[in-house]
């Protein structure tokens, strides 16, 4: 039990076969008190949530709601071993995301025909995909933009690694092949199981990440349109997003989507609100770039799963629409600068500087914290955080209003993951090695999400490029939402074997090498 970074054997906190760990981590007086105070805040958020009868009703109606009991544990997994500014940055990100998801759940159940059934509220709701940039909603400040898939599958798996298994099984029992990506598969399973809240004036779906996601939407839209009577607009974002000759099409899709929302909600587009959101998006972009600049030095500050999760939320789901994220951006930047000036480190030793590429395992999102604590591998940045850095027009002029459609289209096309998995090999294959140089990395950790066809399709060429450059490349295979295929220990073992047999190294913290966490949340 120590205040110093890296002095503890973090693996000793695990109870073999248990859902939770033995006890909270001792981080010294100041950090422990801070961490405890944030833990209390999370408990208060949960407490406030469950005192509402409709939320209790939802707990019994929706199978996936039980996963939300694991919220404090999820934060603990991500703060493992962190001290000082790192701990505070992590809480700044995670706690805000928790507040945001709690608000999302509140709103979903308020409008849900089966729970709150607030019909007036429901008329102001526009449903969106989980994997969808919400740029097209930046000019509708009075509408509620809600994703049902985010709490039912996406966040649920972050909370409890086994959360999606039931829905994956439901989809397969219905006849879906078992080799598709388990994420849209689970989302389709929720819809087949009729386990999603029913509300909204209309819905916007998007051909977001992959063929599976696109087709999975068809299962969901069928129920929405034919059973629930909720009209759906399918927003088609071009796949070859770097090409000039697709941008007119993309912009027109945005115009059509806006017209659809206006028609079904009766709410007109608000340019003032749009440009305010654009300003916040630009601010978030500048902050992210500043963090990435720091990560190019010997003292990276905002990195790992926190960066990835926060970017996913802020860049994709928020799109400048919620001011609280601007405040969080500011606080994170302040903390990062503070730590950078003091040349602080998040682990006692940084042995390797790694670029994390590919799609991370959702059921083991805190793997990057483990990577740092166990092997001293610094995850400088990850594929999902390397998103658009283009500045949006933020001044309301007639010319900028026209450009704004292209800006929104650009953001939609450049949603996290799809901006790399689609658009040709340059954005996935070539740019990886540019980042390796830019960040002065000496290792690439390549998530191999086994049912992601777009990534699998570059498997051999990733290896060839790594060999040509003499950069160690470690494959980490997983099945995104399904730990039954590759367990968390299975994920760790791939690194452990590589580090011991190829790199001939010993772990920084041997207690973390093997953890019996198959049953853990």
């Amino acid at each position: 039990m120590a205040k110093e970074v890296g002095a503890d054997r973090l693996g000793d906190l695990y109870i073999p076969g248990g859902k939770v760990r033995k006890r909270r981590e001792w981080r010294g007086v100041s950090d422990t008190l801070y961490d405890y105070s944030r833990w209390l805040k999370i408990m208060m958020t949960l407490g406030k949530f469950v005192i509402k009868p409709r939320n209790v009703k939802a707990m019994f109606r929706y199978r996936w709601m039980a996963n939300y009991l694991a919220v404090p544990m999820m934060v603990d997994r991500h703060t493992q071993g962190l001290r000082g500014e790192y701990l505070r940055i992590c809480h700044e990100e995670q706690d805000l995301i928790i507040d945001d998801v709690a608000q999302l759940l509140e709103n979903l159940f308020r409008g849900d025909r089966r729970i709150g059934n607030d019909t007036e509220f429901s008329k102001k709701v526009v449903l969106v995909d989980e994997n969808e940039m919400t740029a097209v909603m930046m000019g509708f400040p009075t509408l509620k933009v809600l994703s049902r898939e985010t709490p039912s599958t996406y966040v649920s798996v972050l909370l409890n690694q086994h959360a999606a298994e039931h829905y994956i099984d439901v989809a397969q029992e219905f006849g879906l092949a078992g080799d598709v990506c388990p994420m849209p598969e689970a989302e389709a399973g929720v819809s087949i199981d009729d386990d999603a809240p029913v509300l909204g004036a209309c819905a916007i779906q998007c051909n977001t990440t992959c063929d599976g996601s696109l087709l999975g939407n068809g299962v969901i839209s069928r129920r929405l349109e034919k059973e629930d009577g909720i009209p759906v607009f399918q927003l088609a974002a071009p796949l070859r997003h770097r090409e000039d000759d697709v941008q007119d099409y993309a912009a027109q899709e945005i115009r059509n989507a806006i017209a659809f929302v206006e028609k079904h909600t009766g709410v007109p587009w608000d340019w003032k609100a749009y440009f305010e959101c654009a300003r916040r998006v630009n601010y978030a972009t500048r902050c992210r770039q500043e963090w990435l600049e720091m990560n190019r030095t010997d003292y990276p500050q905002v990195f790992g799963s926190n960066l990835a999760l926060y970017t996913e939320t802020n860049y994709m789901a928020i799109c400048g629409r919620i001011p609280a994220f601007e405040k969080a951006d500011r606080n994170i930047s302040r903390l990062a600068r503070q730590a950078f000036e003091k040349k602080k480190m998040a682990a006692k030793e940084y042995r390797h500087r790694a670029i994390i590429w590919g799609v991370q395992s959702h059921y083991y999102m805190d793997f990057l914290v483990w990577l740092l604590n166990c092997w001293g591998i610094v995850p400088l940045t990850d594929m999902l955080s390397m998103v658009s850095t283009r500045e949006l027009k933020e001044v309301d002029t007639p010319e900028n209003r026209e450009i704004a459609y292209y800006d929104m289209a650009w953001l939609t096309e450049n949603m996290i993951m799809r901006n790399r998995t689609h658009g040709g090999y340059k954005v996935l294959l070539d740019e990886l090695w540019e980042y390796v140089e830019m960040f002065n990395a000496d290792m690439v950790i390549l998530w191999e999400h086994m049912s992601c066809k777009a990534l699998d399709g570059m498997h051999g060429l990733f290896e060839e490029r790594a060999r040509e450059r003499g950069i160690p490349l470690v494959w980490v295979t997983h099945d995104l939402f399904d730990p039954r295929i590759v367990s968390r220990q299975g994920v760790r073992d791939q690194i452990n074997s590589f580090m011991r047999t190829v790199m001939r190294e010993e772990p920084l913290d041997p207690s973390l090498e093997v953890l019996e966490d198959e049953e853990s949340w």
């Binding site: 879906l176 092949a177 051909n207 069928r222 071009p238 099409y249 399709g457 051999g460």
Partner: protein
């Protein structure tokens, strides 16, 4: 006594050109491709049904849809693409690595699906095509995911920039409206012949098997069309007088719907198992791939071609609700038109788009349209799969039992 498909009863006299067409399908670089190239024509290879074929058949150029007949080991392509990509893409890459597609003078591939895109990108990065061909090029293109005016604009721009322009710049191909109209005329002649041949499948006791029809149809995708027309015409004439078997020798009539299939052995296996394939709704099949393209004089032909490809397209990548519903309606309408007793939904293993379409389609066709449906996934080359044979035989039996029940219910 019930008789569920006695294929030994099939005594149809062989069609004169069947063997010729079967031989054409034995090689990607078939005799007619070689002949056309010797005549100075450019071979435009392509990989997806969403590529408008007439644009690849302008004067001086002909299209060849890539396939890998008699595919064997997929070791090299599995290394590059992993075992999770569909076998069609792996088979193509393997063949490309072996040098089997070096006859192509250029290749066009839309981002129809991720796997196809990655397959061709690997071909490019591994420098597998175009050896010794100075003007060889790869062309990737975006294609619409919804059928609407915006999608049409995109389709036209993409075809102009990624098909017509590179053909003109690299090979001096005439891409004028007149040239496009001439290509459509030739395309339509082939479509009319295939349609006419396929019409015989509607007969109660057809004079052509589903396998034979598939052989003729597939050849029109993989060989220069203009070199096939005379033999297709002769075949059509021959069919007019061909005697069908004395008694319909199958247990059921089925429509096969699903993903890319250039494997005639699959149809043969289905028919050998007692199910007559009366209609085909898959890539490389005749519906909708062999629909003639109707042109008027009021609008440029490129826009008209793109519009017809977009609205008739049955590819599951079309994501708008109207198109999704229309896909199942289309299958149901075909089944009705061709008097199908049941539907086989097939999906190449690891194909994401068809995994979902097969799941929904099989439920909808069964529950809303009342058809017996068999949903199967299959490898690229089926060979003589006992497992598949058993499934089809069981399906045929179940259809037969339903028929008997229905007859007894009706007294």
């Amino acid at each position: 006594m019930l008789s569920f498909g006695k294929t030994e009863d099939i005594i149809l006299k062989d069609l004169k050109h069947l063997k010729y067409f079967e031989d054409l399908l034995q090689e990607a670089n078939n005799d007619l491709i070689q002949q056309a190239q010797q005549e100075g024509k450019v071979c435009a290879a392509y990989t997806c049904e969403n590529t408008p074929e007439p644009l690849l058949n302008l004067p001086g150029v002909f299209s060849a849809r890539l396939r890998a007949p008699r595919t064997g080991s997929l070791e090299v392509s599995t290394y590059y693409l992993t075992s999770f990509l569909c076998e069609y893409t792996r088979a193509l890459l393997e063949r490309a690595v072996e040098g089997g597609f070096n006859f192509a003078d250029c290749i066009f591939t839309p981002d129809g699906c991720s796997m196809m895109n990655r397959c061709v990108e690997n071909m490019e990065l591994l420098k597998t095509l175009g050896k010794g061909k100075e003007h060889f090029f790869y062309s990737y293109m975006e294609i619409p995911m919804k059928a609407d005016d915006n999608g049409l604009n995109l389709y036209v721009v993409q075809c102009r920039n990624h098909i017509l322009k590179p053909l003109a710049e690299n090979y001096g191909i005439d891409i004028s409206d007149d040239a496009i109209r001439a290509a459509v005329k030739e395309h339509n002649r082939v479509c009319e012949l295939i349609r006419a041949i396929g019409e015989y499948r509607k007969d109660d006791n057809p004079r052509i098997t589903g396998y034979e029809f598939q052989v003729f149809t597939l050849a029109t995708y993989v060989a220069p069309k203009y070199l096939l027309i005379d033999k297709l015409e002769e075949t059509l004439e021959e069919l007019k007088t061909r005697e069908p078997d004395a008694k319909f020798p199958y247990g059921a009539r089925v429509l096969v719907a699903g993903s890319e299939m250039d494997d005639v052995d699959f149809i043969k296996l289905v028919e050998d198992s007692g199910a007559y394939v009366c209609a085909d709704r898959y890539c490389c099949g005749s519906f909708p791939g062999r629909d003639p393209i109707l042109l008027n004089e009021d609008e440029d032909p490129l826009t008209q071609i793109c519009r017809q490809y977009m609205y008739r397209g049955q590819c599951p990548r079309y994501m708008d609700s109207t198109k999704m519903d229309a896909r199942r309606d289309y299958v149901a309408a075909l089944a009705k038109e061709f008097n199908a007793d049941g539907i086989i939904y097939e999906q190449m293993k690891f194909c994401d788009p068809w995994a979902y379409e097969k799941m929904l389609g099989s439920h909808i066709l069964r529950e809303e349209f009342g058809y017996p449906v068999l949903a199967v996934d299959r490898p690229y080359a089926i060979g003589n799969s006992g497992q598949m044979r058993t499934r089809v035989q069981a399906f045929v039996e179940s259809i037969g039992i339903k028929k008997i029940r229905k007859e007894s219910d009706n007294g």
